[in-house]
Amino acid sequence: MSLSSAIETGTQTVNGSQAAQMDEHVSASACPACLAAPSAEDLAKSGDIKGARIMLSLPTAHCAVCISDVERELHKQPGVRSARVNLTLKRVSVDAEPGVEPTPLIEALDRIGYEAHELDAGMLSATETDKRGRDLLMRIGVSGFAMMNIMLLSIAVWSGAESATRDLFHWISAAIAIPTVIFAGQPFFSSAWASLRGGRLGMDVPISLAIILASAISLYETSQSGHHAYFDAAVMLTFFLLVGRYLDYRTRAVARSAAEELAALEVPRATRLREDGSEETVPVGDLKPGEIIRVRPGGRIPADGAVIEGNSETDRSLLTGESLPVFAGPGSILSAGEVNLTGPLLLRVTAAGKDSSLHRMADLVAAAESAKTRYTSLAERAARAYSPIVHLLSFTAFGTWLWLTGGDVRHAINISAAVLIITCPCALGLAVPAVVTAASGRLFRKGLLIKDGTALERLAEVDTVVFDKTGTLTMGAPTPENLDDLSQEELAVAAALAGASSHPLARALFEAAGAMGVAPTPLDDLREVPGYGIEGRLGDQVLRLGRADWIGAEAGNATATHLRIGEAAPRSIRFVDSLRPGAEEAITAFKATGAEVWLVSGDVEGAVSDLAARLGISHWRAGALPHEKAELVGELTGQGRHVLMVGDGLNDTAALARAHVSVSPASALDAARTASDIVLLGQDLAPVSDATRIATQARRRIKQNFAISILYNIVAVPIALIGLATPLAAALAMSASSITVSLNSLRLK
């Protein structure tokens, strides 16, 4: 009796810790079961109340105060009906009146110190993910319930129930187990069937075989009043494997959700001019060469085109990495993806859709992706070795025992089923997902989103890191560098001129002057000359702030604007791009691990070498074109290196796709985010180096988990082969190995 009570408490701890562990996992990473849940509900609601649903990602939210702050602030905004933060997913869902735009909400949150990004709510509600997650959870619930009840009955049998009582207990177990296995085992059966039809022997084939064989034999044994029934093992196997399957599923669902649905920067619409000069808004896909489009200041250029009217400057940093705005006037050729900075432009479309430079970039990415060899994950390698061995062992046992006993089929099948059950794929099924869930949960809390399950494993192998400059190591936002060289008077004039423009350099100058306590001099006749600069008058002196050639100053290598007061010599105000927070830490940490750090940029040599010197990076390349970046990555890969590419621009996309593993910030272009494996949700770059550390640790844990389950098998399989495995031994081996594996995964720091 003491044995049975020990087992009973044992079983309860099994269930208890399993539940605790699932809880831990639920909080460790986000819950996919609920991904689309709110939107589904709200879709139903929006049937009667029309309104806007806005989803924002909140990478920095982490506590109770954040929840109430964010919700209270959003409630104050006009038109907001309700807002609810989901801390697990780090997002807030806002129910608002029709016509409420996400931008003011993001700005409001920014003012109280929370970073927010827009998510595409339409895509969130369109996903079927939550259905699958809930379906799996439901099956876990059913098999967990069945497992506990059967285990209670089994304990009575193990502790010595005899004849009629044992048969009764077996029959009741059968009545619970058979429907459970049929319902809860479906995910395995269908995937095993799919892999068999495809002529492969996946992990699910031995799993399904073990579950079906164990249930069938037990049913037969029960009908013959046999001593051993494996109902508990069959159901337990289903339960543990479902848990592994669910963790695995959730990691992927969480990754898919936010990373791909960060809407932000893409331009889906364009303003087209009709024959009569009136405007209409059309989807970018409908643009045809020869049509005329209008691009307002601050807008992104939707298609390749030639300027026919208007002067402006464009920011091409996302396309080429150049930090200096480029002049655009009639005749200039602009590419899709550039940002129009100062004046309105009329463009004649030269190429749209498939022919545009944006699309050529996509072809480059496709080529880079095909050049990359497919990564075989540890789990796949394990499954590949595991399935044949298990089947071989089981059939050998069957054949040998058939021969030894002179044709006792019942005994031989019993033993081969015991072998299948005891080889315990549940530890293997949990070994990887449990670690990946724990690790990606930890990374998610640091603000990193893993889009691909194998990205962690690949990250662990990295020995070379390639950084892009503009927008990645730097914020892509300039700050004036040499304001101290200017006199107070000059500063006041410069501030007054800068205040009249929305050009990024002018804004930066105006804000910096304001921060220094400089009051702008009141000027007359202030006007912006789009594409050149700002002009004003003080008395009879003409004042100009703007491009070097317009002012009559010498154009330098660095990002600069120039100031001329009357006939005095022009003064230049140089700008530096501020470093992204955490950039230095990340680079120092990478160097400490012995990784080689590269800086590759499309920007001019001066800016790149300056930054390289500032951060202590010895390998750098300037003026790199998109395909050159990809080639550099390919070259390094060819030397047998495993490259981590960190970049944000369109010009990095091919390199991101080509690299062993890639990271892009949330502010990156859509295409760059899609091409990369990991998305950095916050501003800070420091988590990237943490990520490699956690990834290395995670890989070690996965390998340890494999070692643990192999060890259990080395002990248990011989026992099963010689026919000594009782249902009790099978249950013990299975639960013990599953739990050690799960606990080991949770050790991840």
Binding site: D23, V26, C31, A33, A37, I67, S68, T88, G141, V142
Partner: protein, 53 residues
């Protein structure tokens, strides 16, 4: 042994009640934001005036 005729149905029934409760919790989306719920309990904002929505 007669006790078994009561105990087994009772234990199955109680287990079934647990299962149904789990289904209910699942359907009413109580596993949606476990981390947020854990933090929300610390806020006294809606202690006196429950939120209307």
């Amino acid at each position: 042994m007669e006790t078994l005729t009561f105990l087994i149905p009772i234990s199955l029934f109680l287990g079934g009640v647990g299962l149904v409760a789990f289904f209910w919790a699942l359907r009413s989306r109580q596993f949606e934001d476990p981390k947020g719920d854990a933090e929300r309990i610390l806020s006294d904002e809606f202690d006196d005036h429950p939120r209307q929505d």
